[in-house]
């Protein structure tokens, strides 16, 4: 099994799986449709093109730095030229847009070697610009982390912590427990259903299929941990008896 690892970090990210009308929500972790869409953009696929084998890749994310939920109350107005030359403005629907701010995620796609290497290459030199779930959310720093000969679960549990140095320092402990969200195995009984497998990104006929996800946690070393397992100072030890 081969995986390609992506580091999704930016001031703002938005990963919606059930946005309707003017309320544009975000999940707390990247969605499969969002990441597949980003990969498809990197490969130069247009929205009406077929996604090919991309939706069949197994997908998992690790929440390396959870960030914070941010709500944007968005107003917009449309200009209209009147016959007398003046401009009048009419309001567009008010919308609530949700973002995760200051978050870092590790996203992993598992599949055949050739396909996975193609993704890594495309992300390094994208055809269309990359963005993190919404066009206004560009990634901070390189996205591609490389291709690894590991399974999905193993990659999520073994790849180093990619949170910012600042937040790693703040954690102090020498290991951290990070939440993961990944595709469930077909034989796993427990799971949560989200409408998150991209079938078509065609603007006129967007389609998403249902996906079963499994949540878990993994323990990762903190390279900037400063906690020393200090030995207890025991004054009773010198008193005998």
């Amino acid at each position: 099994m081969t995986v390609v690892a992506l580091r999704l970090a930016g001031p703002l990210q938005a990963w919606g799986s059930r946005s309707r009308f003017v309320r544009r929500e975000t999940e707390k972790a990247p969605t499969k449709s969002g990441v597949i869409g980003m990969v498809a953009a990197a490969k130069g696929l247009r929205r009406t093109d077929s996604l090919g084998e991309l939706p069949d890749l197994r997908f998992g994310v690790r929440i390396d730095q959870p960030g914070q939920l941010l709500r944007d109350f968005q107003t917009a107005q449309r200009p209209k030229k009147e016959k007398d030359g003046t401009t009048s403005w009419s309001s567009l629907p008010l919308s609530q847009r949700y973002y995760v701010s200051d978050a870092v995620f590790l996203a992993v796609l598992e599949g055949e070697r050739g396909l996975v290497e193609g993704i890594d290459e495309a992300v390094r030199g994208p055809e269309f610009p990359l963005y993190l779930g919404r066009r206004s959310c560009p990634p901070a720093g390189p996205v591609a982390l490389g291709v690894y000969d590991r399974g999905l679960e193993e990659a999520l549990a073994s790849l180093p912590w990619v949170a910012s140095t600042r937040s790693q320092r703040r954690h102090r402990a020498n290991t951290v427990r990070l939440a993961t969200v990944r595709d469930a195995h077909p034989d796993e009984a427990e799971g949560e259903l989200v409408q998150d497998i991209p079938v078509s990104f065609d603007p006129n006929r967007r389609q998403h299929a249902w996906r079963t996800i499994t949540r878990g946690t993994v323990e990762i070393d903190n390279p900037h941990g400063t906690a020393e397992k200090g030995e207890e100072h025991d004054p009773m030890a010198s008193l005998g008896g």
Binding site: G230, E232, H233, D234, P235, M236, A237, S238, L239, G240, G241
Partner: protein, 227 residues
């Protein structure tokens, strides 16, 4: 003198009050003695050592044996773990020049200074780690010990570390809130004047001794090679 060690259970409700306010813990410790006033031997000193969320130890040094039943009932494990009290005098008598000990001290490092508009000087807390270390280094000659230096000749430094710092602010009946800055020092010392060190161990170091500051304790030094 007696040294007492008691584990506290921070998950109990009363712990919020007792661990949250040095004033409350001071009262609880004092209540453990029929007569808590200082004697010629020494005074009541206490210290709270926190080694994790669920590992909190209360140490006291006192001229008399304490009875901490009331503390155990409120914030201890009444049926399994009480407190251990040991004779301190054996150790105090056995101090000899040249001995090496690990030490731990929680103190309230202050200096006296005057601010603008103040008519008089007042004790003000040392703020940085460096100031707090210097505070201890300045008074070590009077305490009957010196620090063991570690490291090779080029980078030899006294074995002293500030392992914890705190700003405690709590209420005291009938007065404005009290604020004390504490620093917990750990290191290795060599005894030079046993009598002076004995005094430091039984009477404490620095200010705020009622509020868990100033209690110095000794533990056997680390075995050679393991440090």
């Amino acid at each position: 003198m007696f040294l007492t060690k008691m584990p506290l259970n921070p998950r109990r409700r009363a712990a919020r009050k007792l661990l949250g306010s040095p004033q409350a813990l001071h009262a609880a410790v004092q209540a453990g003695f029929a007569d808590p006033s200082p004697t010629e031997e020494g005074r009541v000193l206490w210290r709270l050592d926190t080694y994790g969320q669920h590992r909190v130890l209360l140490y006291t040094a006192s001229p008399e044996k304490p009875d901490f039943t009331h503390i155990v009932e409120q914030v201890g494990w009444p049926t399994t773990e009480a407190w251990q009290t040991r004779e301190y005098d054996g150790l105090l008598e056995s101090l000899r020049p040249g001995q090496h000990w690990q030490f731990r001290l929680t103190a309230n490092p202050v200096h006296s200074a005057r601010r603008e508009d103040w008519s008089d000087t007042k004790p003000l807390a040392h703020v940085t780690v460096k100031q707090q270390e210097q505070w201890l280094l300045d008074r070590i000659p009077r305490l009957g010990f010196q620090l063991v230096t570690t490291g090779s000749d080029g980078e030899a430094a006294p074995d002293l570390a500030v392992v914890e710092r705190n700003n405690r602010r709590f209420n005291r009946r009938g007065s404005d809130p009290v604020t004390i800055a504490t620093a917990t020092f750990e290191g290795q010392l060599e005894v030079t004047e046993p009598a002076a060190l004995r005094h430091a161990l039984t009477f404490g170091i620095g200010r705020a001794k009622a509020y868990g500051c100033g209690m110095l304790t000794l533990a056997p030094p680390p075995r050679k090679g393991s440090a």
